[in-house]
């Protein structure tokens, strides 16, 4: 009997693990105006769910590969014939729709699609918790390793070039990190709410942060509080856990807006 036997403890650990990845990653999503990019990657993960079930491969691997493929596809498509948001709009919705159709077509398996759209953090297993923490640790390590380079590229691709950095390479690292975060998050908050967990804590952190590092740390604190508050709310009022977490984050965002002007 360990404390991991309690489903609320596992849910809290899964949520906190996810925040470890989404807090710094979400900052880059906000700074680089990649919000829609994050959504597209997450929607593609639903197609990944369908493929995993259809070909009987691991769910984590399926969502990771499709999210990564989507990221690479969007990066290479944008700026040619279509504007970035058009390319994303086509690909994201196509992947989401194809995923839903695919899941419905698979015979013999009863699948609760809602679980992948909105997540089911209350049903995460010990293995899931381990996978989430592993994935999140890899994302956090990637971002810490490339932190200075990523910031430079975000501020100015020209300056990055002059310093010998390759902006395309750094973009690929972000795409990879995003795909990893989506793959571990789909079970926790679901494909539709991953974007919220990336963006809302970072946006809330912006109003009282003076440096990029403080903003990432503040996003982590806000994300963690959101996870715990959302789970508590879900427990007390029997509301769906994923959406409750996002509502808690939104409440903190509003508080941060009201308290704007205070810098840490």
């Amino acid at each position: 009997m360990s404390f991991l036997d309690d489903f609320m403890v596992r849910a809290a650990l899964a949520g906190l693990g996810l925040v470890l990845a989404t807090a710094p990653l979400g900052c880059f999503v906000v700074w680089r105006r990649m919000a829609y990019f994050g959504d597209a990657t997450a929607h593609a993960a639903v197609l990944g769910v369908a493929l995993s079930l259809g070909f009987s491969i691991s769910l984590f691997l399926g969502t990771l590969v499709t999210a990564l493929a989507m990221g690479v596809l969007v990066s290479s498509l944008s700026g040619r014939t279509f504007a970035m948001d058009t390319a994303l709009g086509v690909l994201a919705h196509a992947a989401l729709a194809a995923g839903l159709v695919g899941v419905a077509l698979i015979d013999g398996i009863r699948v609760d699609v809602m679980a992948y759209l909105f997540g089911d953090i209350l049903s995460v297993s010990r293995l899931d918790v381990g996978l989430i923490w592993l994935g999140a640790a890899v994302v956090a390590a990637l971002l810490i390793w490339r932190w200075q380079a990523l910031l430079t590229v975000t501020l100015s691709p020209d300056l990055a070039h002059a310093a010998g950095l390759d902006p395309r390479r750094e973009q690929m690292i972000l795409t990879l990190a995003l795909a990893l975060a989506v793959a571990v998050a789909i079970k926790v908050v679901g494909a539709l709410l991953i974007g919220a967990l990336l963006i809302i804590p970072a946006a809330a952190a912006r109003s009282f942060s003076g440096t990029p590092e403080r903003m990432a740390l503040a996003a982590g604190v806000i994300g963690s509080v959101s996870v715990l508050a959302g789970l508590a709310a879900s427990y007390h009022w029997d509301t769906p856990a994923g959406p409750s977490i996002v509502c808690a984050a939104t409440a903190l965002f509003i508080l941060a807006l009201l308290g704007r002007g205070v810098r840490i």
Binding site: R33, Q148, L159, H161, A162
Partner: protein, 252 residues
Amino acid sequence: MSLVSLNNIAASYGKKPVLQGVNLDVRRGEILTIVGPNGSGKSTLLRLVIGAFAPSKGELTRAPDLRIGYVPQKLQADPSLPITVRRFLNLPRRVGPAATKAALVEAGVANLADTQISNLSGGQFQRVLLARALINRPNLLVLDEATQGLDQPGSAAFYRKIQEVRDNLGCAILMVSHELHVVMAASDRVICLNGHICCEGAPEQVASAPEYRALFGSGTGGALALYRHDHNHSHEDCDHDHDHPHSHKAAE
């Protein structure tokens, strides 16, 4: 030995040729300015020199001790990214407080270290970008239309600062500008570019070259006259007096 040497360089974006047959040496300590109409390949030439773009033909050699400081054309400071000037100067390499302070002093903006870059005025931002370029003690400072968006006194002050930096640090300066009169006053050598090098030489030589006049018309002749007045130089070719009446109009 030159800092950077371009030998018969050609460059293209896809199939569209931008530069061809470019031969150019950037010498130590000189202020070299590139002028040319839009689309003439000025920015591409700078991108070749800083290594952000590979030539499709020709040979580009850099001195082994070359250290480039780069001041970009413009930088979109997204207000969603909080960053102080001090932090900005420590990207992508952390250089420490002493070097940060020294570069800010050199660029004349020591008081801005703790300001958010999104709160800087255009002129302050250019000084900060200059400070950032100076931080690794470059022997070549590359400026791409660094005064875009500044008013005339602002850009004149900026170019005076550039000259001062060259005099203090002894670094060579390679820059592109639209503001012919201001830039020419500050340059040792001017290159007129339009897909290839049309003409080059001392500012007054280039300004009177037929290739230059074909590209820019005679209006800029007045701007150069302004330069001559300002600096009170003596010139061998003093038979240009007839230029002066328009020149004052053109300069305004």
